[in-house]
Symmetry: C2
């Protein structure tokens, strides 16, 4: 490894994009998100930089920023060699500090902040050199998960599928921006009329329906044209609307393409089962986040009820640590594990989840979208394929075509696949101009918006 | 209800007590706590005040303070009548804001902040008037728990045991400050010598052993003299030390008094079972927090393994919301439910847990100690007895004699029982002088300490 000196500075910024103005990315529970990041830059005395972030959706980002500042004392003053030389110990230093762990432990704001800080450390490390599997396992804190996975079990061998990935990339799916909060006029057409139109004027209606169904027409038409074959739709606000929308989407994409549904935690357990049963005719591969992200036993009940219908349960974007994922796997509560690069404690904790999922033979289909989530998680899912699972069956990584233009090395999607990133690092360096203009509340974008806001 | 006008102001302060200097309250995982609070005062335009707090242990309190500020916009500008007129809706406004819930949801920093804010609202309400059971149930957000408890089931009738409580009070137990980090010289006596001394010089050794075992001699001798019959000891750092200490304590308190053990999340699942099995001869009523507070299935495994030994499992002080408690109950993972007045979303969420525990017939033994936790939780456990459980079997409320002098209405303990509080409100108003001198980092206590600290 390069001797890159001591980390002498950590800065963190509250960067927000006013996405709520266009209702981009809204869902049944998050109705007006302003996609945001707590953006971290660490700097060595040799002038080398590492970039990290965690994703948020507007208000509250300042709380995560405050938590990052509270953690910065653990990073500044250390060399990269000290950190990665005992990365498990360093991880535990951040997550198990005798005072700070009280406000978690390992969950919520403080874990989001841990992710942002450690993502920057991983970026710095990745810029400095490559890593071996043994080193990777030594980054994992196995505390509380040894009943499910031991360190010995974790030392899996690399499967050498690099070449395939370089050539084809990792399969992706696209999440449509169609929200469950569409204007009521949209649904004034009856199903019969729509189906009738469908038969009569296929091409026109194809485009019209897409225009109606997707807040972003361009996104969807581009998606189909670009070879996408897996689509996710948001559900959970109104059953009748969901039925109409899902029927139409299934008709449009045809019987062979894959449809997933996402409820964003909208339901109680019994409600989830009956609601999804009503949507079963549209053959979703999975229902995502049917209820509270904390409800392991609830997810297990839902999984059991939906299994005869051929519908799996997916969750993870708000699953707060490895101990929760362990139980979801132990309880057969998930059929699809959705890791998140910014909710869990960076690469370290995600590695433990990838390895547990592999042991329990549950496919990993990462959560992405947001700001920078695609950029980060592509590294994790490529590692999963090359070094852990070597399997693509029922596996795919979420993709949303949104806000990538703010990154110095944005993801590259070709034919609905993530192409392996080529630049060194963890791909979450943002353009300086994007950071400056979107800082909250002082950047010019927000200064202008706030000046216009009513008192 | 009194018309008390509009809430026009919310202030929050970071108040810390330098308890780490004396290692007060330390345990196997929190080795140097500075007992602290995020202290909230709300004020109406009529000049009436409500006081609330959440407990923390030092570093990170500033993050909770930041989160309280982020929530303050939901409170300021509303009347008490608007809030309590739809308290379930107000609860959900705080916990399910479309942007802020991302940094929880309902867990960690943001839920601690919710507790502090709502505790102040409850204090204001309690100062204004009394409440009926129907009103109380309307404060609960049943989202995600209807598979375990419905609103109809929650409408239990008051059991009218007020008179008994007014006379005798609610039974308490005391947590010794004996930490698992005692100086090694303490253990240079062999067990044989100690037992020999015990037989020969009962009174002297009784006091000597207490002096050795408890960092606070006065606390323990006072406790025994004051009629305490239930004791909790911290374990989990070194098995041999734990065995020595538990043997001695059991000898000192005799076979009939109750001993509990607290591991503060130190172990993995298998380790917990074997460690506690080694301590079984000392007949603990429960082992508290044997592993991660998130590990429902782990606690269930431990419960099952320890049941034949007559040892229950207790947890809850870091159980972050009602959805987690629901599962702990559904999985028979806890035999003692330890609610916390500042970790859960105030009275609202604690009510749902009290009602679920009652339905599952698991006794509630609240977590207290810290700063202000005793003052707050006494209200909840009295309500539990008078209006829900009407049962004292295997029920008791934690008590630590520490930092009560900073409150305007400190708890009153008589003959090891909590006497019902008499002053109006939720008992968490602090002395102005205590708040001023202990504010971090500017108060005189911290200004002096920080001036002396090495660079």
């Amino acid at each position: 490894m390069l001797q890159i000196g001591k980390i002498v500075k950590l800065t963190v910024k509250d960067v927000r994009f006013p996405t709520s103005l266009g209702q981009h990315g809204s869902d049944a529970m998050h109705t007006d998100p302003d996609y945001s990041v707590a953006y971290v830059v660490i700097e060595t005395d040799g002038g080398m930089k590492g970039y990290g972030l965690t994703f948020t959706v507007g208000r509250g980002t300042e709380v995560v920023v405050c938590a990052v500042k509270a953690l910065s004392g653990f990073v500044v003053g250390k060399t990269l060699e000290e950190i990665v030389g005992d990365f498990r110990g360093f991880y535990r230093l951040l997550t198990s500090d005798g005072q700070m762990r009280w406000i978690g432990p390992e969950k919520g704001v403080i874990q989001l902040a841990t992710a942002a800080v450690l993502n920057a450390v991983w970026d710095l490390w990745a810029r400095a050199e490559g890593k071996s599997p043994e080193q990777l396992v030594s980054c994992i804190d196995f505390r509380y998960i040894t009943d499910a996975l031991t360190e010995q079990e974790a030392l899996v061998k690399g499967k050498k599928n690099r070449e395939q990935m370089l050539k084809e990339g990792y399969p992706a799916y696209t999440t449509s921006f169609s929200t469950p909060h569409l204007p009521p006029w949209l649904w004034s057409y009856t199903d019969t009329i729509l189906v009738g139109l469908w038969v009569k004027h296929m091409t026109i209606v194809f485009i019209q329906c897409l225009a109606l169904l997707c807040v972003h027409v361009k996104l969807c038409t581009d998606a189909l044209a670009s070879g996408w074959s897996r689509f996710k739709v948001k559900v959970g606000a109104e059953l009748e609307d969901d039925e109409r929308r899902c029927r139409l989407i299934r008709q449009m994409i045809g019987p062979d393409k894959t449809l997933m549904m996402d409820a964003n935690q909208r339901w109680d357990v019994g409600e989830a089962i009956s609601w999804v049963t009503s949507l079963a005719p549209f053959r979703p591969l999975w229902i995502e986040e049917p209820t509270s992200p904390d409800d392991i036993l609830g997810h297990a009940t839902i999984s059991k009820a939906l299994a005869p219908l051929g519908i799996g349960v997916a969750s993870g974007e708000q699953c707060h640590n490895r101990v929760m994922f362990k139980q979801f796997l132990q309880a057969s509560a998930l059929q699809f594990v959705q890791i998140d690069s910014c909710r869990l404690g960076s690469v370290n904790e995600n590695l433990s989840v990838l390895l547990m999922a592999h042991k329990f033979q549950v496919p990993v289909c990462p959560h992405a979208g947001g700001v920078g989530l695609c950029e980060l998680v592509q590294h994790l899912i490529l590692f999963d394929y090359i070094s852990v699972s070597a399997d693509l069956n029922n596996r795919m990584c979420e993709y949303v075509d949104h806000l990538h233009e703010h990154f110095t090395s944005p993801v590259v999607i070709r034919n609905a696949h993530y192409l392996p990133p080529k630049d060194p690092g963890y791909s979450c360096e943002m353009l300086e101009s994007s950071v400056e203009t979107h800082q909250f509340p002082g950047g010019v974008v927000w200064a202008n918006l706030l000046a216009k806001a009513p008192e």
